[in-house]
Symmetry: C2
Subunit: 336 residues, 2 copies
């Protein structure tokens, strides 16, 4: 039909038309940065609500959850589900409403002003009236032999998620902060013994948590020591090799190893000078997911908050998208 | 074994022992009030985390969602799912971790002080160290013939949820506030025509929303009029009978009817003098779901917020429960 329309026109018109066809769309009502549970849910809501929306993801949609062995607490999947399968379903859900996705690396953003600008590694520049930041976070790692290979097979970075899998087993925790000690206490509800390994001889955790940990019979401490290797096989973790500060070494048999030494935001490409962030580099929002910049929202693990779970990331993605819709519908006509 | 232990003791000891066996547990670490998506998720997290927890629900678990015909936007169930089935799965999920539930009417609460008190209609008094309020909300109804019968069959109270089902159809909206007009604009993305029926001759919505609505070709207005009856059959809504303020009547053929005249909190049993609530009677929390009372949290539709969706209610349930755990683990030993 295109050829039928143009076959008697001048060659110039024909090429002009081809040029328009190949021109890429670069301006959107909403751009979502990051395709984990928060970004996918925002994308599902936006696409279903027929917003002019683009989701940009640097790897594969699903984020951290993709490498999560087993998700036992996403409400509704009552027998549990693999992280991969859950993210596959969430992606399919957004795809059902034809969410436009772009797999690309973002290199910079200017989020001030009414028109938000997103620069890609390819040199392309995209613009949008509103932006949802859902770039996620990652647990800090020890970077020791065996850690990566046994991740999800006994090595865990989340006690809330994985603690219940270690009923009546002997496990270890590394870390000395509030999270590590609170989670060590939490893990005593499941494990028969929890050994806390700390590289110093005192904890950073608050006095009340320390008191409780010292009083808890199931908790033992190994002070002034670091784990040098996670030992295991195809069936999971078997033990930890420990390097003591006095130069000696030892081996601790455990089936679970919780590395609770902090979490780092994926904020490398965010304009932190324009946004408000906490001391850890996470983006501060109000309870409607609004950042301090009008038209800019954040959802999921990148937010400054206490608990990072798949279900609250997804919930925040929906809230952020509805806040973006509210923002867009109250913009002046120039923005339509 | 019990009889073996006691068969040679005095009768008194035996009856004393029976008395202890029949004494009901009344004190908990956490009591959750309300078993919709927020309460069930909090319950799932608490039971899985082995907290000493009780969920109180006055009807059946599932809340408003139980009577939701079709849920198309709960991430992961990518083909959609009935509200009943989704709540069945969420309930089964919490049951898998042996969440203790009590079906009872709460008549009063005292949430000040370290020990929270919950009174039941039966006269029973329960206590807890922490409480999550997830009593939900309900849309305001017109209370006209046909409304209840055709609810979920063409009558809807949520444009975000149900708008996409009305592609290329003629629908009507009742209401004149910000929500009604914003949603009427949103619905033009799907419907071929949206008639806004309003009982006055002016809207309460902001100027910018009014401007947009008046400029939108798909939106028509019927002023000074009220819907007196929803007409339909087994297959759904067919038309609306309209009563005009001048005494005349008319009939408007539509397949969808959105009643957007507000939402009312289920706050009848809440101690509103102790909590902070907004002008609509919804409970104010921070973004970690903490109310102004230590140890008291709120999640889901009962919260003061802009968007009420199943997925964000569930997410808030998880956040509230983790905030409660954090609160409990930082309590003094007396509270253990």
């Amino acid at each position: 039909m295109v050829f039928a329309l143009f076959h008697e026109s001048q060659p110039l018109s024909f090429f002009y038309f081809l040029g328009i066809l190949s021109m890429k769309k670069t301006d959107y009502q909403l751009i979502i940065i990051g395709g984990g549970p928060a970004g996918l849910t925002a994308g599902l809501y936006a696409a279903r609500g027929r917003l002019d929306v683009l989701l940009i993801e640097k790897g594969a949609t699903g984020g951290q959850v993709l490498v999560t062995d087993w998700v036992d607490n996403y409400p509704g999947f009552y027998d549990g589900i693999t992280g991969f399968e859950l993210m596959d379903k969430m992606t399919a859900h957004a795809d059902r409403f034809d969410l436009e996705k772009k797999f690309a690396n973002v290199t910079g953003m200017d989020l001030q002003g009414e028109q938000k600008k997103i620069s890609l590694e390819s040199g392309e520049e995209l613009t949008a009236q509103s932006v949802i930041i859902s770039t996620g976070a990652k647990p800090r790692k020890l970077n020791i032999p065996g850690e990566e290979e046994l991740s999800g097979q006994g090595v865990s970075y989340c006690a809330t998620c994985d603690g219940p899998f270690y009923r009546d087993q002997e496990i270890a925790v590394v870390g000395g902060g509030n999270t590590a000690i609170q989670e060590a206490l939490h893990l005593t509800k499941f494990a028969s013994k929890v050994t806390v390994i700390h590289r110093r001889d005192t904890l950073r955790a608050t006095a009340i948590l320390q008191e409780k940990a010292f009083a808890e019979e199931k908790i033992e401490f190994i002070w002034d020591a670091q784990v040098s290797e996670v030992v295991g096989n195809d069936e999971g973790v078997e033990s930890l090799n420990i390097q003591h500060n006095d130069g000696s070494t030892s081996n601790l048999p455990v089936t679970g190893f919780f590395i609770l030494i902090g979490i780092a935001p994926n904020n490398e490409v965010l304009p932190l000078d324009q946004l408000e962030s906490d001391e850890g580099g996470f983006v501060v929002t109000d309870h409607e997911m609004c950042t301090k910049l009008p038209g800019v929202f954040a959802a999921g693990d990148i937010r400054s908050k206490n608990s990072r779970q798949i279900i609250n990331a997804a919930g925040e993605g929906a809230t952020a998208e509805l806040s973006a819709e509210h923002y867009l519908s109250n913009l002046g006509d120039s923005a339509e």
